[in-house]
């Protein structure tokens, strides 16, 4: 399922130039025309943007936990720590502790409610949750945060369905941090 560098199709070769591109790219390389449009999109959605790094990782880890994606939770636990979240905060996002213990900023608390409503439920979103979010976040932020939830859910199902392997160094770091 995952293509090695020697098997990389022509359009995928640049992604292997720096070494192992990771399992998401190595899987998408099977369909090169999808890879070449997906990677810029995923980069724009999940990479540096108007939404700060810490906030993005809050969204990604929480969404991945709600979706039960082992690959994304483990991979982004490490990224979240690098982004400055504490172990306690990450534990909350992973559903291992209550939010009240860590996230005191109203802006982040309403965001967690929004993530839980969008990623954890089905059908329409409760209007009071949306209204609360919009009191703390401006329109373009609401749109981007929601897009990040959606992109993360897509990757959650992709990674889970294809049983993408977590990098050894990630597993080692998780063990060292007591978050395996």
């Amino acid at each position: 399922m995952l293509l090695a560098a020697s098997e990389a199709p022509l359009l995928a070769r640049p992604h292997y130039a720096g070494g192992d591109p990771g399992p998401i790219v190595a899987a998408l390389a099977q369909v090169p025309e999808l890879l070449v449009v997906a990677t810029p999109f995923l980069g724009a959605a999940l990479g540096p943007s108007a939404i700060d790094w810490r906030t993005k990782e809050i969204v990604i880890v929480r969404t991945s936990a709600l979706a039960g994606c082992r690959y994304c939770v483990q991979s982004h636990t490490v990224v979240a720590l690098d982004a400055g979240l504490t172990k306690a905060e990450v534990s909350v996002l992973r559903g291992e502790a209550a939010a009240e213990n860590c996230f005191s900023a109203p802006r982040e608390r309403v965001l967690l409610h929004w993530i839980d409503a969008v990623a954890g439920g089905a059908g329409p979103i409760d209007a009071t949750v949306r209204a609360a979010l919009r009191r703390h976040w401006v329109d373009h932020e609401v749109v981007e945060l929601t897009a990040v939830i959606g992109v993360t859910l897509m990757l959650n199902r992709f990674a889970t369905a294809l049983e993408l392997p977590v990098a050894t160094q990630t597993l080692d770091r998780l063990a060292a941090e007591g978050l395996a």
Partner: protein, 277 residues
């Protein structure tokens, strides 16, 4: 939009004009240097005939100038004569065959190609049965030299393809004498090296070839679109993906545009001098 970019690219030589189609991968032979590990038990990987005809029409609309059909042995597909005839109504066709299946019935069926821009390219590697058949299988030589004049006398255009690691001048002279005697002129005889892909790797045969060495001829298979007909090879029963362009084959504009993009990224003068065609 895409026709407006492909047509001038073909016209000014930036993109080769031929579109290849792998009609199937199975074969009645199992040659030692086969790129696709074709053989009687090979996975068929067939292209639907209607898809082939549609691809030909799209190729014409985009500005491509020629078609190639290869396999596998293409005449294991019973509809191939009519498919070739239909393809030729869009663009001139060269169709590669091992030349061993030309029964009287098949000869009658390919007769219709005599009036159309179709050339059958038949493999003949050596001027002697023993050396030819060593790599291609028993009785190959006899069947080929019997079939070629029968095709020629029916007015079907025949080309000869010689695929060798190397060949001495004297042996090549005898081979050329042979094909001339069979009714195939020198202009319709191509000599090409064995490429170290597919089964050739297992027999330690052939020259290494990568993108710069291979013609950027758009090649459509059941598994996707590839850079050159030397791209969609099989080794160890597994399709090689290193020369894959796109999995999407229709609309043909998708792989054609991707191929053009790759061609235009190549540095000037990057083409190899290997005589691979």
């Amino acid at each position: 939009m895409t026709a407006s970019t492909i047509r001038p690219a073909v016209a000014d030589g930036r993109l080769p004009g031929r579109v290849w189609m792998y009609s199937n991968y199975h074969c009645n032979l199992a040659c030692t240097y086969c790129l696709t590990e074709s053989g009687p038990k090979a996975q068929r990987r067939e292209l639907d005939p209607e898809a082939m005809i549609d691809i030909a029409r799209q190729a014409l609309e985009l500005g491509f100038t020629d078609l190639g059909v290869t396999g596998g042995e293409i005449f294991l597909l019973s509809r191939m004569p009519e498919v070739l005839a239909e393809l030729a109504r869009s663009l001139p066709v060269v169709a590669l065959t091992n030349g061993t299946l030309f029964s009287r019935r098949l000869l009658d069926e390919v007769q219709q190609l005599a009036e159309l821009p179709v050339a059958l390219q038949i493999s003949l590697d050596r001027p002697d049965p023993d050396t030819n058949d060593a790599m291609r299988g028993p009785d190959n030589f006899a069947k080929v030299v019997a079939a070629i004049p029968r095709l020629v006398e029916r007015g079907v255009t025949v080309r000869i393809a010689t695929t060798v690691e190397s060949i001495e001048d004297a042996e090549l002279d005898r081979l050329c004498e042979l094909h001339r005697g069979l009714g195939v002129p020198d202009a319709d005889h191509v000599i090409r090296p064995i490429i170290a892909r597919g089964r050739a790797v297992d027999h330690d045969l052939g020259v290494q070839a990568d993108v710069p060495d291979l013609p950027a001829e758009l090649t459509i298979t059941a598994d996707g679109a590839f850079w050159s007909p030397f791209g969609p090879t099989v080794h160890g029963g597994r399709l090689d993906t290193d020369l894959l362009i796109t999995r999407t084959t229709r609309p043909l504009s998708v792989p054609a545009q991707a191929l053009l993009g790759l061609v235009e990224q190549r540095p000037a003068g990057a083409d190899s001098t290997l005589n691979i065609r």
